[in-house]
């Protein structure tokens, strides 16, 4: 699986509805509970990806795009 690279093109069929589900999942949660939900989700998705190279690229993208 070494040829895998991070997907940058859209892959989710109904982005608005997924985005809504994501925000909905946090409704009514405390700041802390929200952070934990996000953390669980990241871990689940990271394991789904599995490939360390792709994970590192994702991490790098997240870090880079947050810089202003």
């Amino acid at each position: 699986m070494t040829s895998e690279t991070l997907a940058l093109t859209p892959r989710i069929s109904d982005p608005d509805s997924f985005y809504e589900a994501l925000i909905e999942a946090h409704r009514g949660l405390s700041e802390e509970a929200s952070q934990r939900l996000n953390a669980r989700l990241i871990l689940i998705l990271a394991n789904q990806i599995g490939d360390r190279k792709v994970l590192d690229e994702a991490l790098a993208l997240a870090i880079r795009t947050g810089r202003t």
């Binding site: 952070q35 934990r36 953390a39 871990l43 689940i44 394991n47």
Partner: protein, 572 residues
């Protein structure tokens, strides 16, 4: 506090009366587990030494309690593993709990398969461990000078002079090599002006060693955020003599004196273990640090154990790794002192054990970050892992309640001969040799114990190199018998053992029967396979077929001879 421990008498050192400066090949400073192991290692190798200690007791409180398989195997080689095993509480299973849930979120087993003499871990109070080591050292005629404090160290190119304070006056001694096993506060480190770089963790932990009669199973139990210690962690371990250790995280902002009050601690114990009757054996509050020396060898002064590297207790990597320092250094000093290896061999001690210390520090720091998260987001991830762990197996490997001590695989050591043949399994060059059940002359034995104690050959007391040869090919067997005969006469002898059928063995080869199939499996051995083990039982080379030249080359490389052509073989 509380417990009183065995103490040992001060004896007036002869130098005080003779006024003469004694000289020894090696002096060991510090009678902790590491200094004692080092001295036994030296005595086993016939090197005269003495241990100097500023105190006259074994470890007062119980500090280390968990001793790992590899440390036990080293003590076994040194003749004191079995007493520890017999006295200790054996455990292999660890359980991790989270929050209010009475069921573990995760359970692990330190021993991945049966068929080893030593378990994954034993628990044994450090004072027992030291008592056994002292007894073994005395059995070998070794000397510990209690109440002898090293106050001055003067290193020179070819040796070290020290000044020693005693209750009856000061004297001087000299040695070729000084082993600084003087603990985490190492006065010798300070005398040499060496930096001890690292990290201090802002947290307090309470140790309550309590005596109670309970038949909980002997397993390690670790709690994250339990109801009896909200927001913090807790650890429970069983020790011999019905002593249990409860280790409670307290946090950074605490009133130390108030927390140490027995009534306060009793309250905490009752909350953790409702309804039990107990007495205190030992109470203390500790903080910890992760630090190491940049280099462990400073000319003729060599640092071992806590003086060289300091880890958090999570993972039990302190004493366990210090003992491996001694294991690594002993045979190298022996070869160098005997003039059979260049002094540069001692730099490989530095390279190999710094590598191991880095691994231990990395593991211990990672565990600490998981156990005591430093930020809100770090805590969120930690708790997320624990929340997922029960249902989702993928999350369990993230659970880090201490990565328990396993030996470093010295994969990158310059002493290793890189593989040229294909092998499966874990016995890569640099790995400590795996134990296994064997039969020799019709008797059941353990491989590592047998190799260390086989007094029949030149490998007396495990001081030489060992080749394990998987027999079964008639021509190769015959050639190996010749090889064995020749290498037994070498300046650095190699003892060959044939693993195979004792009834079909060629003349002149000592035979080990792989009665349980452990060796063939663990070493991926087939007829012709040769493993070369260093005196510390680390694999240093292996082949699918090897002739005498290859084995000698690998041995010479492991002995620090970088230019094999210059070595003269007595039998060549």
């Amino acid at each position: 506090m509380m417990a009183t421990r065995r103490s040992y008498p001060f004896k007036r050192p002869p130098e005080l009366d003779s006024g003469k400066r004694g000289h020894l090949p090696v002096i060991v400073v510090g009678a902790g587990p590491v200094g004692l192991t080092m001295a036994i290692e030296l005595l086993e190798r016939g090197i005269a030494t003495v241990v100097l200690d500023d105190d006259n007791t074994v470890s007062i409180g119980s500090r280390a309690i968990c001793y790992a398989k590899r440390a036990l195997e080293i003590w076994d080689r040194l003749g004191c593993g079995e007493v520890m095993l017999n006295k200790g509480v054996t455990w292999n299973v660890g359980k991790v709990f989270f929050g209010d849930d009475p069921e573990p979120v995760y359970t692990f087993n330190m021993l991945d398969e049966e068929g080893y003499k030593y378990p994954g871990f034993i628990n044994l109070q450090q004072y027992y461990n030291e008592e056994f080591l002292i007894a073994r050292l005395q059995e070998l005629g070794g000397e510990i000078r209690w109440k002898n404090t090293v106050v001055e160290v003067t290193p020179a190119a070819k040796g070290v002079t020290i000044a020693v304070d005693t209750p009856e006056g000061r004297y001087e001694m000299a040695c070729d090599y000084l082993i600084a096993a003087d603990g985490s506060r190492s006065p010798i480190r300070k005398m040499l002006g060496l930096d001890f770089e690292g990290q201090v963790f802002e947290d307090h932990f309470l140790i309550a060693d309590i005596k109670m009669k309970q038949d909980f199973p002997s397993e390690r139990r670790f709690w994250f955020d339990p109801p009896f210690n909200r927001g913090q962690s807790a650890l429970l371990h069983k020790q011999p003599d019905d002593v249990w250790r409860l280790d409670l995280q307290l946090g950074w902002d605490i009133d130390r004196d108030a927390e140490m009050k027995p009534e306060r601690v009793a309250e905490r114990v009752r909350a953790a273990l409702p309804g039990v009757d107990f007495e205190f054996e030992w109470l203390s509050i500790y903080t910890f640090q992760c630090r190491r020396l940049d280099k462990f060898r400073h000319g003729r002064v060599i640092f071992v154990g806590d003086s060289a590297h300091l880890v958090s207790p999570f993972g039990a990597r302190g004493a366990n790794s210090g003992v491996q320092d001694a294991d690594n250094l002993g045979w190298k000093l022996q070869l160098v002192l005997a003039g059979k290896a260049p002094e540069a061999l001692l730099d490989s001690y530095d390279a190999e054990r710094v590598y191991a210390a880095k691994e231990n520090l990395l593991n211990s720091t990672r565990s600490t970050d998981f156990i005591t998260p430093k930020s809100a987001v770090s805590r969120a991830f930690r708790n997320a892992v624990l929340e997922l762990a029960r249902e989702a197996p993928f999350a369990r490997p993230f659970v880090n309640s201490g990565r328990l001590s396993v030996p470093a695989i010295l994969r990158e050591s310059a002493l290793n001969t890189p593989d040229s043949d294909a092998f499966a399994g874990k016995m890569v060059p640099g790995a400590p040799a795996a134990d296994g059940r064997i039969r020799v002359n019709g008797r059941d034995e353990w491989l590592l114990t047998f190799l260390a104690r086989d007094n029949g050959g030149v490998n007396h007391k495990g001081t030489g190199f060992t080749a394990l040869y998987f027999a079964g090919d008639a021509d190769a067997d015959k050639a190996m018998a010749e090889t064995a005969k020749a290498m037994a006469q070498d300046a650095i002898p190699v003892t060959v053992y044939a693993i195979g059928n004792p009834n079909a063995a060629p003349q002149g080869l000592a035979v080990i029967e792989d009665a349980a199939g452990h060796l063939a499996r663990r070493y991926d051995g087939r007829p012709g396979t040769v493993y070369l083990l260093r005196p510390d039982h680390h694999v240093t080379a292996r082949w699918r077929a090897a002739d005498i030249a290859a084995i000698r080359r690998a041995r010479d490389l492991a002995a620090g001879h970088r230019a094999p052509a210059q070595i003269k073989e007595t039998a060549a």
